[in-house]
Amino acid sequence: MTEQTAVRAETSRPSRATPRPPAVLVLLGLLVAATSLLPLGFVVVSSADLGPTEAWDLLTRPRFDDLFWNTTRLLVGGVVLSVLLGVGGACLVVRTDLPLAGLWHSVLCAPLAVPAFVNGYGWISTTHAVQSYWGAVLVVSLSYYPLVYLPTVAALSRLDSTVEDVAASLGTGVWASFLRVVLPAISPAVLGGALLVGLHLLGEYGALQLLNYPTLTTGILDQYRVSFNGPAATMLALVLVAFCLVLLGLEALARGPRRRSRVGSGVGRTATRHRLGRATPVWIGALVALAVLSLGVPMLSLVRWLMRGNSSSLPDADLGSAIATTLGLAVAGGVLATLAALPIAWLAVRYRGPLTSGIERAVYPANALPGIVVALALVTISIRVVPSLYQTLPVLVVGYVILFLPRATVGVRSTLELAPPVLEDVATSLGCSRSGAARRVTLPLVMPGLAASVALVSLAVGTELTATLLLAPTGTSTLATEFWSRASAVEYGAAAPFALALILLSVPATWLLGRAAVSPDRTRARGSV
């Protein structure tokens, strides 16, 4: 009967009918989804409010043309340079016999631990030569190229090397095989990274303001300072969102109908590493140069200002209270974002259906929205609808939740998938009640993942600047705002301790991301950046 067992029907079972989701859960999910769609709704409503003549007026001002042109060329330059640095670095680390590849991997991830505005501070306090288009492109690319580097490393190390072997057997050379086989296979990862860089560049405020390079985002804050939430700021926010949509569209277009490269199951076939041979010192030199530019310059300048600041007055009390406030906000944001992600992820994992996936998808657009737009939306809405909430901590925390909910949802979702319902079935058949099964099986399985999600969001909240500047109640001082008030007033020495604290705060998340990119099983690198 061997042939009967060999030629077996597929083992997939009849679709187990999904039960109807509990109404409470759906209501919670709808509430969270509606909240995270608020900023987008704000943009739509305010664009409808704005008359066409007024809009045209605003759009044709020469100042606007400047901002538009600056933003466009920064996007192009920054994305291109980030992709070159990221893909080049990833190929060197993963696919060549570069000495100390593990160490270089850490060095190449490390810039993520330096918030872009701290990097900008390091550069501008060293040389004023970076106050130009090329300076801005260089500084933001040095900050954001890891967003391309990490997913590319992940894709390269998971790429099944047999495709290259096949290419070689078909008579393709090394470079041709890279261009025709490897590059297409990793292109979704590279494009995804490029999209992230683009979105971050659109939302970047601190670094560009320090470098004196005006873009739409810095323009919004300038307008906000002048006229609060006047039509000009709203109009700029609208254009900024349009930019984001164009980026998303471009990425989808470039990715095309090709399937996302989920290549093999990572059987552990390590690809042959190309020998650098006599070119080794050249490439090491290039990496050293990159490390000096991305880490050396900001670190050296930080150390210099720390030493100098020490001799003057160290704001001990300010630093202490800023750390306390930042920790409080970070934990509140992390816990709330994770709690908000729970019903969404639970519905998506356990009750798959049109309604629940709709709710889940409603969360992700916030990922593409710059912090400035979210902040502006919350300011406007709180003033118009509940003025008593304007400039209060709850609104600030809601802002954090909206901004980082996509991140939390991705993490919580993959965590919940670790506890499939069959485990609860087994537990109940063994005498557990539903709540007993949750306590003894589900909770122990998902707790570590939930804690990781809280930590990841908390770290992001701790180093967030743009939305915090707009939403923080007067008198609330966080590490980021305290740093900012000093750095933007050219008190570089006084800003240094805060910069150091911000870097220390970013190290754990960077370490996690760097490890996830090279770990063989999880593909979290893209989702959680």
């Binding site: 009967m1 061997t2 042939e3 009967q4 067992t5 060999a6 077996r8 029907a9 597929e10 083992t11 997939s12 079972r13 009849p14 187990r16 009918a17 670790l418 499939p420 069959v422 485990l423 079935d425 087994v426 537990a427 109940t428 058949s429 063994l430 005498g431 557990c432 009640s433 003894r440 099986v441 122990p444 399985l445």
Partner: protein, 355 residues
């Protein structure tokens, strides 16, 4: 353990639908004890039946009895945790955060953890033929077959009346499947628990079970011993599903039937229009010009080592009929060649309905 009284299981008129689709359509089944296999293609409703027995689903109609207790169909259904059932799902589904002994002891009353629990874990490991040292292993360190044995040990540890196994061996590769299946059947019979095994693998069902229930489209086609199912299938569907018989129309009279394959002896004395069920082992491959054989074109040969199956085409009345023959490994005809085929032995005949 085997001294425990056997608790039977009976199901009557069991009906379950999801939305508009009726998955189970008034199913009756009596399991007196031992191991019963529910055999059916995927999507026939067998997993739904198992989930109803376990209590994970509630039936739309019908009753389920475990021993003398009605657990569904009269008043509130008894929840899974009070049914005294053990459940072994497809992939084993061991709790990934607990080691082997933690998994096996999961269903023991808290009073029985500790020393008594440890002894029970060892007893269960012995029962499923795993070394006692495996108690401290983590689930991911075990092979697929070992995971299934631990899953069975976990289900058996609280001494359930009935054990339900949902395609427990389908994720194992062929060589492990048989060995694990035998070990599981032995453990079940020693434990004395009544067992229901759901499978789409007929070799598994026929070789392991005391009773086989063949299922299609939410109904049982036949419930009988493996031998009975194979030798006396109740319908042409059962014959073609179990044993891969080829169905041929024929005219029967006085113990033999005439079809395109010539006249063959049939079992039973049905006269008139019948449907013959010809199994691969009933088709003999002979030389092309042998007397009494039909000429056939060899379409495909699958060589297995111990034997081979040959698919061959014979010219029928107005179309070609494809037959499958099992031949010894020593003389396998090459594909594309012509051979003779002949039906040997008695052939099953079913009265053709609607004619």
């Amino acid at each position: 353990m085997s001294s425990r009284p056997t608790v039977g299981l009976s199901v009557s008129g069991l009906t379950k639908g999801f939305d508009a689709v009726r998955v189970l359509d008034g199913v009756d089944l009596v399991v007196p004890g031992g191991l019963t296999a529910v055999l059916g293609a995927s999507g026939c409703g067998k997993s739904t039946l198992l989930r109803l027995l376990a209590g994970f689903l509630e039936p739309d109609a019908g009753t389920i009895r475990l021993g003398d207790r009605v657990v569904a169909g009269a008043g509130r259904p008894v929840p899974p945790r009070r049914r005294r059932i053990g459940y072994v799902p497809q992939e084993g589904a061991l709790f990934p955060h607990l080691d082997v002994s933690g998994n096996i002891a999961f269903g023991l009353r808290s009073a029985r953890r500790g020393e008594a629990g440890r002894r029970r874990v060892e007893e269960m490991l012995d029962l499923v033929e795993l070394p006692r040292a495996a108690a401290i292993r983590q689930p991911h360190e075990l092979s697929g077959g070992q995971q299934q044995r631990v899953a069975l040990a976990r289900a058996l540890a609280p001494a359930p009346d009935v054990v339900l196994l949902d395609e427990p061996f389908s994720s194992l590769d062929a060589s492990l499947r048989e060995e694990t299946g035998r070990a599981v059947a032995r453990a079940l019979s020693v434990s004395g628990a009544t067992a229901v095994l759901v499978t789409h693998d007929q070799a598994e069902a026929l070789s392991l079970a005391d009773q086989v229930a063949v299922m299609a489209q939410g109904r049982f086609l036949q419930v009988a011993t493996p031998r009975e199912i194979y030798l006396n299938p109740a319908s042409p569907e059962v014959a073609s599903f179990v044993g891969h018989a080829v169905l041929l129309p024929a005219a029967a009279a006085a113990g033999s039937a005439t079809s395109v394959l010539g006249t063959v002896r049939v079992r039973g004395t049905r006269d008139g229009e019948v449907l013959l069920a010809v199994r691969p082992e009933q088709v003999a491959v002979t030389a092309k010009d042998e007397a009494g054989s039909l000429v056939a074109d060899v379409v495909e040969v699958s060589f297995f080592g111990h034997d081979a199956t040959v698919r061959a085409r014979v010219a029928g009345a107005d179309d070609l009929i494809e037959l499958t023959a099992r031949v010894p490994a020593a003389d396998v005809p090459p594909p594309g060649s012509q051979v003779g085929v002949r039906v040997v032995g008695e052939v099953l005949a079913f009265r053709q309905e609607g004619r």
